[in-house]
Amino acid sequence: MKTIAQINQKIKDGRAVVVTAEEIIGIVDEKGYEQAAELVDVVTTGTFGPMCSSGVFINFGHSDPPIKMKTVSLNDVPAYAGLAAVDAYIGATEVSTTKGMAYGGGHVIQELVAGKDVRLKAFADGTDCYPRKSIETTINKYNVNQIYMYNPRNAYQNYPAATNSTKKTIYTYMGTLLPEFGNITYSTSGELSPLLNDPYYRTIGLGTRIFLGGGEGYVTWQGTQHNPEQARGENGVPVSLAGTIAVTGDLRGMSEEFVRGAVYDRYGVSLFVGIGVPIPILDEEMLRFTAVRNSEIITSIADKSGQVKLSETFTYEQLQSGSVEFKGEQVRTSPLSSISKAREIAGILKEWIEKGDFLLTEAVAPLPLKNKINKLEIREVK
């Protein structure tokens, strides 16, 4: 048994043993769970996937004379301005009014992270206290007051693989899906994925300090659609859509390497976000959780045309092999989330902790283990 305070002391003393969620598997194979749990203090995780539910809050600062911005756009991508006078939120999936789906919020966010100038246009009605009615200028992450990512839903604990039962190619947020179960896509970093390494959220909770987009960030809430009541395997790992986290972090610490705008053909814009979460090895149970491997993580598969209910399941080891047997045929499987970047993130977080630059945090409150997912019913409006 170790406490987070004890682990932090070891980190400060430069004595902490930190390994990635891939490396821990080899250590367990060699030493067994009990010895590995005593040896290892922290396991680092990582993921780098398209996460649509992401965005950035900005306070632009006041102009002279001031304006109460009513409509705001950044590089012609609309941002939400129904907040105080010069506060706005730009969402990753918002698309350009001039370029359509080819450019959107995800790209604006990437450019802001990179430190580039972005064109701000805003209009207002004009009031006694905010007389200005329009403004056009450029902003960047250094000349605004606050600029922080706030992502309502990131790092899905597990996600169904996707396929297409129809006779036509379909274009989805899970990539291009070929007719008649012509291919399968999946999105996870598997054994490296943060919430798959802490399946019951024993250590990941509100206030957990994380790697976010190349800088430091925090878990701030349960993510939207957080679904802890999903069926779980014997190892506690959910077998389909489950937990999610909301995260926040300052754009000024982030790097373009880990925040990338993306376009999914005929679907729209999204944002690749890099997240890494450190997991303290408090006891043998936590060690067992972090030693989970791709062959032990199962996911479901969904027909993205919505026509057929599929009951097959696959392990991530099978999906990562490049093809699986499905409906009597060998079907190609393709990832959408970058495993090599996830590995890089887990490695960077490991380095930060080893150097003593990054201390672990005790969660202020846990993520809920009970939460029902509601459907949106179409009710009669009176």
Binding site: G49, G175, T176, T185, R332
Partner: protein, 134 residues
Amino acid sequence: MKKIKVKLHFPRKWISKPLMSEVISRYGIVFNILHADISYDSEGTLIAEISGNDDAVENALEYIDSVGVRYKLYNKSIIRREDECIHCGACTAVCPSAALTMDADNKLNFDKEKCLVCELCIKACPLGIISTEF
């Protein structure tokens, strides 16, 4: 020696002739089929690599043309800005010839020899870093 990549368009109701074996035996070329989609009652396409001495390749193409099969030479090739690639793998989902695959290290691997230049990967790449070059 000459090596070209070519796409053949077979017309609808094309009266079947042993085209491949004929060009091979007449001109002594190597005819490597990369992709074929041919049936009796609809238009068909075949993508192949033809190699042999310069004259033989030219003559083979002339013969193919003379029997009413149109062809298009591939003079383009697919390129990707490698330093910007994040190795997500989305392009591998649409690649019909498995020229784009993930390697054992989860990095994107591109086998130019297998590429049909179908260009499906260009739109499938979420970062827009794949294009064609002449």
